[in-house]
């Protein structure tokens, strides 16, 4: 198990995280990093896809409560992730594998640490049961098509 290194996809809102530094520079320090204009723009399918493509965890860094430039995008993603966790759990993806942090860090210097911290937790949790998602693909499709087959 010692060589197992979890892969964490990190979404971060551009309005609160790392906007003062060059994105390319910060990119080199953060693996699988996706700066996004608003965390409210993160779709459930984006999260599902990440797990499907092999991510072990998802970290979403949003604006502090009440600070969303697009009014309520951070609350929207929180709602979405909380609801999605129930479904993910039914697929064997533990709730620890999705995490939301609402804070602000214009320099982005805390992001690598937050990713590292999540990786360590996931390492303790162990690798994801790879086939869990495959068996439940029909459910995922159902979510993608909004319940329509």
């Amino acid at each position: 198990m010692s060589e197992y290194e979890p892969k964490v996809v990190c979404f971060s809102c551009k309005f609160s995280w790392g906007y003062l530094v060059d994105e390319a520079v910060l990119s080199r320090k953060i693996e699988h990093w996706i700066p996004i204009i608003c965390t409210g723009k993160i779709d459930t399918t984006h999260i599902m896809d990440a797990f499907e493509k092999g991510a072990d965890g998802i970290l979403i860094l949003g604006c502090p409560e009440g600070d969303c430039h697009y009014q309520d995008g951070n609350y929207e993603v929180k709602k979405r992730v909380y609801l999605l966790r129930r479904i993910l759990e039914s697929m064997g993806i533990e709730k620890e594998r999705s995490k939301i942090v609402f804070s602000s860090d214009p320099e982005g210097s805390r992001i690598p640490g937050l990713v590292k911290e999540m990786k360590e937790k996931l390492a303790k949790l162990g690798p994801r049961r790879r086939n869990a998602l495959a068996g439940k693909m029909s459910q995922k499709e159902a979510i993608k098509t909004g319940g329509r087959k």
Partner: protein
């Protein structure tokens, strides 16, 4: 760049300019308030690191408004229309600008001259107040050779009459002297039109192809009652507010000049409050008497700013509302008091036309009377230059400010219509555009009349209350130093964040300019997929997503002026009918996901 279904609003340039945030519509020069609020909110929290950003934002503002730093002290007109007013208090835009001013005013001295090729005609601007300077600045930037003709020995006009506790003199001095230096404007001081041999005709002979006349309102208005001048205005102890403020500004009045004196100030405007509060600072016991009533929302409400009234009240100034002055009482040539009937109505359909009930009359006793009921233009000058019509009004086109008798003369600022500093500046801007059009020989009016449209406040879960602005306690502020504390960097960032950016993205583009967005991605609706369920309408905080009837079915549509390209409707859509054009988020996600394997 917009490619959306034809709602008929996203096409023309005219329409683009017509939608603005309410604050920017209120501002006579339509300052880019939203954009700069956003940029302030994204400053680093380290003051040294923030300095560059502050200067960048300031330079952006300075380009259009070379007085923005002064606005930061005395103009908050935009706050009156802020959508946030009803949700916890207007965004403190004035203090945000004062925050920028604290850094930028000093920086002005280091600023180099604009590199402008001055290959256009000579234009004269008569009067170096805010209106004249604004006009001169913008004409100069367009390559005209501008000369300001100033009657006094300093630029700034009536701004010099604003007491120091509201606008420090060094801020004003630094601003005006650098403005003419940076923009390369020539100034002739101590020259008055129509006194000596200077006339408009003479200027024309000198080679000036156009003139902007912004001579302001240099004389105080005398006190009248029912159309007649009230007697006794020549008594010892009676003075005019305008003259008093001039003397205060020039340091000609001793700090305790009014000690143990009862001073009555007549007038309900901001200038009357400037007078009253200055007198109080010089030891007087002050009573303000005004025609208007206390309720500002009423048609006859007091015109002074709420902050002024609050400040005066805190400082122990008594305000007597709804009273006029019928008689000035004197004894042995000295002022003794005034006789004040109730004012039952100030304005009627024809405008200012006060009515009184003389059966209800009080007498106020005092040692000094300061009349501050408005100002008057230099009428003889306007008459001699033949700029008035047969009814004695300015004979000009009020859209272009062009004189109807002398088409090369343009008139604006307080001399046309009394107003706030920024209104005079707005007219300076209009005059600059008019003069440019006149000298280029193009249509004077085309495309200039605009009806702006604003939107309501976006929906959000929590609106934040306005920050407390600390004033020195009244007992500690009986001097002419600033009594209002400006924002710290941290407070400015917080206040910038509070702005909910109600205006359309097209008028702002802050996020594009700093590289957050590649472009403003419009949202496109695939009508074939859309089932008209309305999820997008529910999730949109900007009233942009809405349902329309199209081809016999209900589908959703996007109002591109309201859309902020946040993508929340795209995410909420259960049938993937909405997508963002020109958006690279999906590619970015795909790239990252492909690296997972």
């Amino acid at each position: 760049m917009w490619k959306t279904e034809a709602t008929g609003i996203a096409h023309t340039e005219m329409a683009v300019r017509q939608c603005l945030p309410p604050c920017q519509i209120k501002c006579p020069i339509n300052e880019d308030i939203q954009r700069t609020n956003v940029l302030i909110s994204l400053l680093p929290d380290d003051p040294d690191l923030a300095k560059d950003g502050i200067i960048q934002i300031s330079e952006y503002l300075y380009d259009k408004n070379p007085f923005f730093n002064i606005c930061g002290y005395i103009c908050g007109i935009c706050e009156l229309e802020c959508n946030y007013l009803k949700k916890g208090g207007a965004i403190k835009r004035r203090l945000l600008k004062r925050f920028l001013s604290d850094v930028y005013t000093k920086h002005l001295r280091e600023l180099g001259k604009f590199e402008i090729v001055k290959n256009k005609e000579k234009v004269a601007v008569i009067g170096g107040g805010p209106g004249g300077l604004m006009c001169a600045y913008h004409l100069s930037k367009r390559g005209y050779n501008v000369t300001i003709i100033e009657a006094s020995n300093q630029l700034g006009g009536a701004l010099w009459l604003v007491p120091d506790y509201r606008l420090p003199k060094d801020v004003l001095q630094t601003t005006v002297e650098n403005l003419v230096r940076i923009a390369g404007i020539a100034v002739r001081y101590n020259i008055r039109l129509e006194s000596g041999d200077l006339t408009l005709e003479k200027l024309k002979k000198e080679g000036f192809k156009a003139v902007f006349l912004a001579t302001g309102l240099p004389y105080p208005r005398v006190l009248t009652f029912e159309g007649q001048s009230v007697e006794g205005q020549d008594l010892s102890g009676v003075m005019y507010g305008l003259n008093y403020l001039y003397e205060v500004s020039h340091g000609n009045i001793a700090p305790d000049y009014f000690k143990d004196k009862k001073v009555i100030v007549t007038g309900g405007g901001n200038v009357a409050f400037d007078v009253a509060r200055s007198v109080k600072r010089q030891g007087g016991e002050v009573t303000i008497v005004c025609l208007e009533c206390e309720d500002k929302d009423c048609k006859d409400g007091i015109p002074a700013d709420e902050e002024e009234i609050r400040g005066a009240w805190e400082e122990g100034i008594r305000i007597v509302y709804s009273r006029g002055v019928r008689k000035i009482v004197g004894q042995n040539g000295k002022f003794k008091g005034i006789n004040c009937p109730t004012c039952v109505s100030v304005f009627d359909e024809d405008g200012f036309n006060p009515k009184f009930d003389c059966t209800d009359c009080i007498t106020l006793v005092g040692d000094i009377l300061i009349i501050t009921i408005g100002q008057a233009p230099d009428r003889p000058l306007l008459q001699k230059e033949d700029l008035l019509d047969e009814r004695g009004r300015l004979d000009i086109d009020h859209l272009t400010l062009q004189s109807l008798s002398k088409p090369w003369v343009f008139i604006g600022g307080d001399v046309r219509k009394v107003g706030f500093m920024i209104e005079a500046m707005g007219e300076g801007l209009v005059a600059a555009e008019s003069i440019d059009r006149y000298l280029r020989g193009v249509d004077m009016k085309e495309g200039r009349r605009r009806d702006y449209e604003a939107y309501e406040i976006p929906i959000r879960r929590d609106y934040k209350p306005e920050p407390e602005v600390p004033w020195m306690p009244p007992e500690d502020r009986m001097h002419f130093q600033l009594f209002e504390k400006g924002f710290t960097l941290k407070e400015a960032i917080e206040e910038g964040k509070r702005c909910v950016t109600c205006g359309p993205c097209l008028s702002c583009k802050a996020c594009v300019s700093i590289g957050f967005q590649k472009s403003l991605s419009p949202v496109e609706v695939d009508v074939a997929r859309c089932s008209g369920c309305g999820h997008c309408v529910y999730v949109c905080n900007y009233y942009s997503a809405h349902l329309i009837s199209s081809g016999g079915k209900i589908v959703s549509a996007t109002d591109m002026f309201r859309c902020k390209s946040c993508g929340m409707c795209v995410v909420a859509c259960p049938s993937e009918a909405r997508r963002m054009v020109d958006d690279n988020t999906a590619e970015r996600i795909a790239t990252v996901y492909s690296s997972l394997v």
